[in-house]
């Protein structure tokens, strides 16, 4: 990056998407652009596929919640163009009152799979279109909420005794779905819905 210059992708985005590009800024040499929730998937697809942009590598997806409860929660996409050696940060602001929901970019970058699961696990943002949206860091039966939200107490909602009791009652294998364990062995014991998803080849191929 050359100093504090604005990424040329942002004027191009404004020309292409108009009002869907909300605002932009340059912070520490990085260009940041806010786009509307409704058009975020279109914008990201355009950034990936347009010959002049070619953001072919999704570095990270994460989210930010600010202390000010009035401020929206932001989902952050950090993009990288490997051929152009250029970076762009795209943010989607989600109003705390509205649904915390952004369309999944799994169909654009397969690497979004676990990144979106992490954002879902820690912030509770859901990603319609994601093939397998479930917790990834916390175990799947974790029921205390979303740990990185500001309203989440540092020690969790449950008492230490309750947390310890649940941990002791836990089944070590239950942290992982059957999809991740010996899937071929367990195939006929899977719920019908999961079997169907597997047969569609959504999570690899199994006959």
């Amino acid at each position: 990056m050359n100093g504090t210059a604005l990424s040329p992708s942002i004027p191009a985005l404004r020309a292409e998407f108009g009002a869907a590009v909300e605002r932009h800024l340059v912070s520490c040499g990085d260009s940041i652009v806010y786009v509307s929730r409704e058009r975020s998937h279109d914008v990201l697809a355009w950034l990936r596929d347009t010959a002049s942009e070619r953001f072919d590598y999704l570095t990270d997806i994460t989210a930010v919640e600010y202390r000010d409860p009035e401020r929206p929660l932001e989902v952050v996409y950090q993009l990288r163009s490997l051929p152009r050696k250029a970076d762009l940060r795209v943010k989607v602001a989600l109003d705390q009152a509205g649904p915390l929901e952004v369309r999944s970019v799994w169909d654009l970058w397969r690497g979004a799979d676990w990144l979106e699961r992490e954002v879902y696990d820690m912030f509770g943002v859901t990603f319609p279109g994601h093939p397998d949206l479930r917790r990834i860091l916390m175990w799947e039966t974790y029921s205390e909420g979303y740990p990185l939200r500001k309203a989440f107490p540092l020690r969790g909602h449950f008492s230490r005794a309750e947390q310890t009791r649940q941990a002791l009652a836990g089944n070590p294998e239950a942290h992982y779905s059957l999809e991740e364990l010996s899937i071929a062995d367990a195939f006929h014991e899977l719920p019908a819905e999961m079997r169907e998803r597997l047969q569609r080849g959504e999570r690899g191929y199994l006959r």
């Binding site: 916390m138 989440f152 107490p153 540092l154 020690r155 969790g156 008492s159 941990a167």
Partner: protein, 209 residues
């Protein structure tokens, strides 16, 4: 004791006295022998989750070399292990795993809680971390430090050996498995809750507002 005293060998009452005392003598020596064997051939089951595991590896490697204390064989199977060494922090997600490993270890078995996080949760007083592995498994020796140096762990091992030498076969309670009580815990729930003192565990306590 194999020598017989010609002056007393034909005296029936003396023999009776000796045979009445013999079990005491034998039990004591058997204790010494088993404890000597157990203390000097501890097979460790490393449960390394964090930086303490690096120090554990240094302890096991040639410079410090816990083989000198009879820990020649690192047991990566709980079924052939004597002492579980939890080296590092234990998240709630891993708690059922260490419990399963502990349950798979045959008696006699001991455990060492290595480092501040394993012993008390350390700096990780948060939603995801067990506040001391003694809420999950029984612990024999706590090694303080963040992480403890190899000398610290070796001192803990020596303490454990000393503890083993003091055990007796007659005390079967030493070999009893601790099972989860009706509350679903090993410790009284109030004691587990106290682990989050002095701040208490409150839904209002966020530390971020």
């Amino acid at each position: 004791m194999g020598l017989s005293n010609p002056a007393t060998e034909n005296r029936a009452d003396e023999l009776t006295t000796v045979s009445a005392m013999s079990p005491n003598w034998i039990t004591s020596r058997l204790d010494f022998l088993t404890n000597w064997a157990r203390a000097n051939s501890l097979w460790p089951m490393p449960f390394g989750t964090a930086c303490c595991a690096i120090e554990y590896m240094a302890t096991a490697a040639s410079r410090f070399d816990i083989a000198r204390f009879g820990m020649e064989r690192q047991s990566f199977s709980p079924r052939q292990a004597d002492v579980l060494i939890c080296a590092g922090r234990l998240p709630f997600k891993l708690a059922p795993v260490i419990r399963r490993i502990w349950d798979q270890m045959p008696q006699p078995k001991w455990s060492i809680s290595m480092g501040a996080c394993a012993s008390s949760g350390g700096i990780f007083d948060n939603y995801s971390m067990v506040q001391g592995i003694d809420t999950i498994i029984p612990v024999d020796v706590y090694v303080p430090g963040c992480p403890p140096r190899p000398e610290g762990l070796m001192y803990g091992i020596l303490l454990l050996q000393k503890k083993i030498r003091g055990e007796t076969l007659a005390d079967e309670s030493l070999r009893e498995e601790t099972l989860v009580g009706p509350s679903g815990l090993f410790l009284p729930p109030e004691r587990v809750d106290e682990l989050s003192e002095p701040f208490g565990n409150s839904v209002h306590q966020t530390r971020s507002a």
